[in-house]
Symmetry: C2
Subunit: 662 residues, 2 copies
């Protein structure tokens, strides 16, 4: 299955020890012919043989062979598994096929991380019902916010299926992903026809491959389809003809794609059509689609990324951060059972530091899913190293105070808090057709990490990093620790040399790489820092835009008060003078200078640390990453100097340490 | 010849009076069959009939008819004409065919401006040998910095020839243009093949149409042609194979295009290849091409727009303004006779206010041509009204002090100062395939005006504006004065609401419409304002970059001293505190606030004035311009508010008049 055209990422198994045994496989309760089971056994065979050198002989009984027993246990919960090594083999129990494939990959992971095959042991149920990847792939082959080549799903308006498709599905299954949206949420051109005869056959083929690895295929939907492909003159969700059209369309979709998962919808957002066009609510739109897809067991995932993207920068009352809550909170409870709201982690748009969206847990009677971005749109374009798992962990661990106990975001989106059957985590993925899938080889840690975390939100950032390093590079302990530390500190490093203390955005408009302090300051996007000669920050307190009041009381109080507000977010919530004294005993302006000099220094350290790994990392991967660290260093210097110069020129307050500011 | 698909611009003659006479035509000395003469007579007939209602009967003698006598007079200088009305007709004398066609259009212009046919009288020799338009048209049909539709020369990599081509040639002849470069100076893709068999036939056809109106066709050249189309591995201008290749190529070009004018070359500029790549001088490159084209009478126009476009913004020593002089002055005298240096009016790039390039007149032994931009790249995209003739006049009237007397730019580029045979004026034209050719109907005043001014640099901005209004709209005196004043003040209005006092650039990067005060501040383009909390401006004095020292002593002294420097340029030459007192008794910062409030107010006035013309301007034209004034008003407000807010936020100094600043 290995191809020479692309890497096998974390599935390129390293020999861990030379085993002396042979294995046979025994399956009870499951159908060996089921494609998921068959694929799981294939993966077991491939993995064991590569990791231990031992041979898997098949399913006939052989004397003195170890037995890999796959056994159905219907008392286990959905998609969960239990693995246990013993002197005569390994037992894998699961209630369903997905549990089996996840169990197999758990066995291989444990061996790759240092256990002997007969020592493996774990029992896991997935933390989230939905563990989803969102591809922003366009049918012309381009990828919106893609930094690792073109799409491997689409080319010239056709669907591409090859070995890479299967490898992709294997990778996703190995980290617990069970849902994939194959096309960009901005559905345009040919992508509107994905739900027509023009593409059904190919989508079916793709869906079947996914299905073999326990993954449901989803698509992004064009809300204006009744007009664009249906020939109607409206897409009003309460219009009878529109509803009838959608009913027919869903019937057609499921006739061709019986295992189809459902649709992701970006409506009324950044120029996309939606229910607001017809004076309808977001619930009207989502529920109509939910109702028509319900007979087939499909679901509708409705994005909450709705805001006024033609704001006047002069207007300090309107606050983009408020928009999600303002648009969706009132309709809490109005959404039907098979509708899930997909909510970005922060109220803005994937900045390096944002508070957690107050919608998460703010909604108390609505299925909700957390959306994060693995694609490094605002976090370094897979040039700069930015291990994002710590960011996701912060979000998951955030106490919303929506109730006593079970009030973290992890609780809320898992369904634990309110007993929802639907919920989970979705990520905008960072893959492309680059040889190494993710441009920067180290960016694959985010791909891997998101999957693992969505499956098990209790895992720490370090555990995930160590797993990924072991699987990918199998380094000695010292180098593992070095690389692990590089990953773990990289998000803070990136934060230090970019925009300070939660204010975000000081990025080059459009491209979103490199600094432009005022780039979004006088724009229509609702993204302002409001810096003048005295201070900086957005007043989102009860005296400002009132955004802080969208949180439950404990958090609202905390954010409302500069003394209580976590300082890494202080400029998100408060407009403060440059002379404001932080808890570190530094003034705000000195913090800006210091953190930018530090951040750039840390980028230099990262770059130097990478060189220490030259002898243990495969040459091609080493060079790819080496080149990127050089670029990261340029970027860090540019950020440091532009941000420092900007604030020095504006405030006139010199750096206490007299370092060079231009 | 009138087409319904596009306007006839200033050649859409209005009936001026009802004449009672008939005309016959008598030609002596010239060949009536010559296409220029034939076209001239056709234009005379068309014009006279439309303007006076009188009939032109032809060349047979008719009793009692007036006679239009076209007579060769070899004592007149090249391209000049003399026209004189008398009781029995009009006499047109010229030494060559171009003089005839210019004389005909002079007759028609005088009648359109109010004279009776028999009263016309004028004797003119063109001020400049070369009066040239530069099209930045690409062969895919797009136009670099085009704001009035796509190219009418190119479409889908083919040359388009239709009635519009002829109309274009008529327009150009009517304003005295005798040279046109048809393709973009950035020669890429198919345009590199314009000098191959693939296009010769069509270029010849185009060239013939131009020739019929006294216009020579020129093309922009790809300096890397020996590599790109010749298959060589170098384009080193001193390489023998390269020279031989060019010799062959020129032979081929002139075999197909016997009347071809020559080439315009942008080399070593903004990523274009050039002699510097091979360690050669600009003169090496230009002279090599000059030598190989010389046998055919062709000329090489070499652009001086060479500078370091990857500057570090931190570097305050390097000064883009210096680059032209630094690169070209030392080689003064080294350029061959058939090479002309084309020099932009200012040292930067077509900003609303720049000092005159010190190369103009700074070069004392080199053919030189002034380049201006009619296309409103930095001056409002043909949305905002910006009559540019006053800007061109300022440049032409500038005393370079290169010698005693005859030291203005007009003197220098005409050839008067140093006795050059080659020289003149070139403009980046503002036309496209829009119905009205120039997007904004009023922008045609710049197209018209440039031609007229390049032919007669003594004309005033007001004379040109009145001519254009008379020819285009034929308004009553009151409305003529109103529109004339709108045009005459519009450049200053645009200047007031955009970047102050010669500093330039505070424009949205790439697009160049709308404000972005820091948009170019931290970029690689060498375009900085250096504003901090205390002041703004670039020190280009002897204590700064030394740019002011590139001028002759009188000007160098003037620019070097803030007290002597013209205040409209003071920030181009000096870094000054916001509290610096201007001669108006206002501080610098107050000037910034006042001028921006004034500029926006003037934009409102322009818009209101246009409404007063509703009844006298044709409805379609009125509406087109009306829409643009609405957009201009938005733009002016955005500039006013962003610039004022930027400087208030940075300086902390309030507006004395307490107006709203955000």
């Amino acid at each position: 299955m290995q191809s020479e055209k692309w890497t096998q990422l974390w599935l390129d198994y390293h020999k861990m020890y030379d085993g002396k045994d042979s294995w046979i496989i025994a399956v009870t309760g499951f159908d060996k012919e089921n494609t998921i089971i068959a694929n799981a056994l294939k993966e077991f065979t491939k993995g064991i043989e590569a990791l231990t050198g031992e041979t898997v002989l098949g399913t006939s009984e052989v004397m003195n062979a170890l037995t890999f027993t796959v056994s159905q246990n219907v008392t286990l919960s959905k998609e969960s598994y239990r693995i246990e090594g013993s002197h005569d083999g390994i037992l894998l129990e699961a209630s369903d096929e997905n549990g089996v494939i996840y169990g197999v990959f758990a066995i291989l992971r444990q061996i790759a991380c240092g256990k002997k095959a007969l020592e493996v042991e774990e029992a896991k149920a997935p933390s989230n019902p939905l563990r989803m990847m969102n591809h922003w792939d366009n049918m012309d082959g381009s990828i919106e916010r893609g930094y690792s080549g073109d799409s491997f799903f689409f080319e010239d308006e056709e669907i591409v299926i090859n070995d890479r498709t299967t490898d992709y599905a294997r990778f996703m299954a190995s980290i617990g992903i069970n849902a994939v949206v194959i096309n960009n949420v901005n559905v345009k051109g040919a992508a509107s026809y994905l739900i027509t005869d023009r593409y059904f056959d190919k989508v079916k083929e793709l869906s079947d491959i996914f299905e073999g690895y326990g993954i449901k295929l989803y698509m992004s939907l064009n809300f204006a389809s009744p007009i664009e492909i249906g020939g109607l003159d409206t897409c009003d969700p309460l219009d009878k003809e529109v509803i009838a059209w959608w009913q027919g369309k869903m019937k057609e979709v499921y006739e061709h794609l019986p295992n189809f998962g459902g649709f992701l919808v970006k409506a009324d957002s950044e120029g996309r059509p939606g229910p607001f066009t017809y004076g309808r609510t977001q619930a009207d739109g989502a529920n109509m689609l939910g109702d028509v897809i319900k007979p087939y067991g499909g679901i509708i995932i409705w994005r909450c990324f709705v805001y006024n993207c033609t704001q006047d920068w002069r207007d300090t009352k309107t606050d983009r951060a408020r928009a999600g809550y303002d648009y969706f909170k009132d309709l809490d409870g109005a959404y039907h059972d098979n509708v899930v709201l997909q909510i970005k982690n922060g109220p803005m748009d994937f900045q390096i530091r944002e508070p957690v969206s107050p919608l998460l847990g703010g909604l108390q009677h609505t299925n909700q899913m957390l959306e994060v971005q693995i694609a490094q749109e605002y976090t370094g374009h897979q040039i700069d190293l930015c291990y994002l798992i710590p960011l996701y962990k912060e979000v998951l661990d955030f106490h919303t105070h929506c109730c006593r106990g079970k009030d973290t975001v992890a609780d809320v989106v898992s369904g634990r808090t309110m007993g929802n059957a639907l919920g989970g985590m979705a990520a905008v993925i960072n893959t492309g057709d680059d040889e190494n899938w993710t441009g920067n080889d180290l960016a694959a840690a985010n791909t891997y990490g998101f999957g693992r975390l969505s499956f098990d939100t209790e895992l720490t950032s370090e555990e995930i990093a160590r797993e990924w390093i072991a699987l990918t590079f199998n380094l000695p302990e010292k180098e593992t620790t070095l690389l692990c530390n590089m990953l773990l500190g990289s998000r803070e490093t990136y934060e230090k040399y970019t925009s300070p203390l939660g204010i975000g955005w000081m990025v080059t408009p459009m491209g979103h790489y490199g600094p432009s302090v005022d780039g979004y300051e006088y724009s229509r996007w609702g993204t302002y820092h409001r810096a003048d000669h005295l201070g900086i920050g957005v007043d989102r307190t009860d005296k400002g835009t009132g955004y802080a009041q969208q949180y439950y009381e404990e958090n609202a109080k905390m954010y409302n008060d500069p003394a209580a507000c976590p300082e890494e977010l202080i400029l998100f919530f408060h407009h403060l003078p440059y002379t404001y004294m932080l808890k570190t005993g530094k003034t705000l302006i000195q913090h800006i200078y210091d953190s930018h000099f530090e951040g750039e220094k840390e980028a230099e350290d990262l770059s130097a640390d990478w060189d220490k790994l030259k002898n243990v990392i495969p040459a091609q991967a080493f060079d790819r990453v080496r080149k990127r660290f050089d670029l990261q260093l340029d970027n860090a210097k540019e950020w440091r100097d532009q941000v420092n110069s900007y604030f020095y020129r504006k405030s006139g307050i010199p750096d206490e340490k007299n370092r060079t500011i231009y």
